[in-house]
Amino acid sequence: MAAVHGDAHGHGHDDHHPSGIMRWITTTNHKDIGTMYLWFSFAMFLTGGTLALGIRAELFQPGIQILQPELFNQFTTLHGLIMVFGAIMPAFVGFANWQVPLMIGAPDMAFARMNNWSFWLLPVAATLLVSSFFVPGGAAAGGWTFYPPLSTQGGLGVDLMIFSVHILGASSIMGSINIITTILNMRAPGMTLMKMPMFVWTWLITAYLLVLVMPVLAGVVTMLLTDRHFGTSFFNAAGGGDPVMFQHIFWFFGHPEVYIMILPSFGIVSEVIPTFSRKPLFGYSSMVYATASIAILSCVVWAHHMFTAGMPTVGQLFFMYATMLIAVPTGVKVFNWTATMWQGSMSFETPMLFSIGFIFLFVIGGFSGVICAIVPIDIQVQDTYYVIAHFHYVLVSGSLFALFAGAYYWIPKWTGRMYNETLGKWHFWLSMFFFNLTFFVQHFLGLAGMPRRIPDYNLQFADFNMVSSIGAFGFGLTQLLFLYVMINCIRSGEKAAQMPWDGATTLEWTHLPTPAPYHSFEKPPVVK
């Protein structure tokens, strides 16, 4: 019904925006900004991925072949920083920009000008970060968590990293303020909070987490900066400070941060699975409460990253049990997704494949997380490849797979064209195969004692490392296929049907034409 009414709107409007590059620099349209976020994060994903391939190339064989240890450390550090702050987080913000106004029936984001500004901070921050490779002393090399004393001793590269984190933090905070205000104030009439699509819910909670912890990160890097240059001694033992305190403050930010990177992917999967099961999401309200519980619990578990840093037993027990408790709301979600599929009329297009792959592999990462939460085991596996395997299972096959699912799911709505389904499926199956080839063996390496962040290793680890490196190069090349599928879809994909997915029920599918017009929902739809 409403498809036609939206269309009339789109044509009635003069698009009086400038053309060429100025269109993108000055745009305040949520769709343009969302697109820029997504392209930026994909470019950063390839940059961080190239660093990862450098790491895996060095680890292909024992001994030092390609990267000297100093450069290897810079690679691991920047790989982590770029992937977390440059790829995963901006990608989710890109989805929020595109989808939140469409899904709640708002004409645009609440603060369109600020939206532009929060995007254009990102390339600046990324330039600082990447250019730090070329300053004397090279990039920051103390790990993505930049613990002192290494981060108080490093060279100019560390300062560039600190400024970059400041800018990225400012961008995230502005983005979150925008998202919260949009969701709370600009919903279409009739769209109560408990009628919002799950993706919007997860982003609302994520945005609150961001304004909660990003300022703390900004504070801790500022302390680092003043310790380095202005004579304070927050983390300098000789001046009465304490480097362990850095870890506490950092992880007070850092643990909610990992949920910031996974909650929106829960949201995407909660949209995709009902669509391709042709059933409403099972246990909607329990999903909302589970998301909120995860967010609250995530603020009281930070010290499980520091079991070996020294802590009273009672502290270890508290953080161990609190961490294991997170498995409960997470389990609620997994069972709800499974129950949504149960007896559904399922079909397996690429978004659904990535979502099911997400559930399967994220659960493996979740279980290894519960294992790491157990103090005596964590003391064994701390800083080994077991931890690397664990968080790549939740971040790559968790966050990234959900991002792929979302991209395939919404690209027909964004561009009005269909992607090549065969190639999409190839992308999924190759990603699935090479991802597991890369990271599953790292569990064994970690249990056998291979430490992380070291460019060389004992001969006993050689075979699994070779397998892992082959997997990594396969996974990296597979992502070029994704780039091809997307460009091919945008430029010459088949015209998408008005409703490409017959099970979709959210506003952007039911109330807007395909592709979504440049200006949508100028008259808010009425939700019953």
Binding site: M186, L217, G219, N236, A238, M245, H248
Partner: protein, 181 residues
């Protein structure tokens, strides 16, 4: 309608900005909170004297060798213990002397930071007096002898026969550490 929404939006933005600012300050507030927490719970009590416990007893059946180590970091000082080790009974209070000499022509302020081996020694080591509790100021070419008085509690596990107490002197630069004790 449009105006009402946008003023509501601006109000919301102001609230969230205030919240952001509060969280930034909260990040800094974690520092004194952390120190207070450690002080109250007795964690990380490196720079404060311990009080003598009342039911102190000496385990005369056991001997423990205490090794003394002294280091400087980027400091123009000589720093050494007057004895390299001592053999004591757990529970027995002992005092050892350390000596520092300023080799430079300027006044230097330093702070010693202790380090123990095995790591859990700090639970069983009670220090009543130590030059590490305060900063030390040495005039050019001054030499100073300073005591450490401590006891190792008899509760220390019986498989421990040798422990090491190490100190490293760091230079306190002018202006550094003023905000801290």
């Amino acid at each position: 309608m449009v105006n009402r929404t946008s003023s509501a939006n601006v109000l919301m933005m102001k609230k969230l900005l205030v919240f952001t600012l509060i969280m930034f300050v909260f990040g800094y507030a974690l520092v004194p909170f952390y120190e207070k927490f450690c002080e109250v719970t007795g964690i990380n009590n490196l720079l404060k004297p311990d009080v003598q416990v009342k039911d102190n007893w000496v385990d005369e059946q056991r001997w423990i060798t205490v090794e003394f180590d002294a280091n400087t970091r980027d400091l123009p000082w000589n720093f050494k213990p007057l004895q390299s080790s001592a053999r004591i009974h757990p529970g027995q209070t002992i005092e050892v002397m350390y000596e520092i000499t300023n080799n430079s022509d300027r006044e230097v302020t330093g702070q010693a930071i202790p380090s123990y081996s095995p790591r859990f020694l700090d639970k069983h080591l009670k220090k009543f007096e130590c030059f590490c509790f305060t900063k030390q100021v040495l005039k050019p070419h001054e030499t100073k002898q300073m005591p450490v008085q401590f006891v190792i509690e008899p509760r220390i596990p019986t498989d421990i026969q040798t422990v090491t107490i190490s100190y490293t002197f760091f230079e306190l630069l002018p202006g550094a550490g003023n905000t801290k004790k």
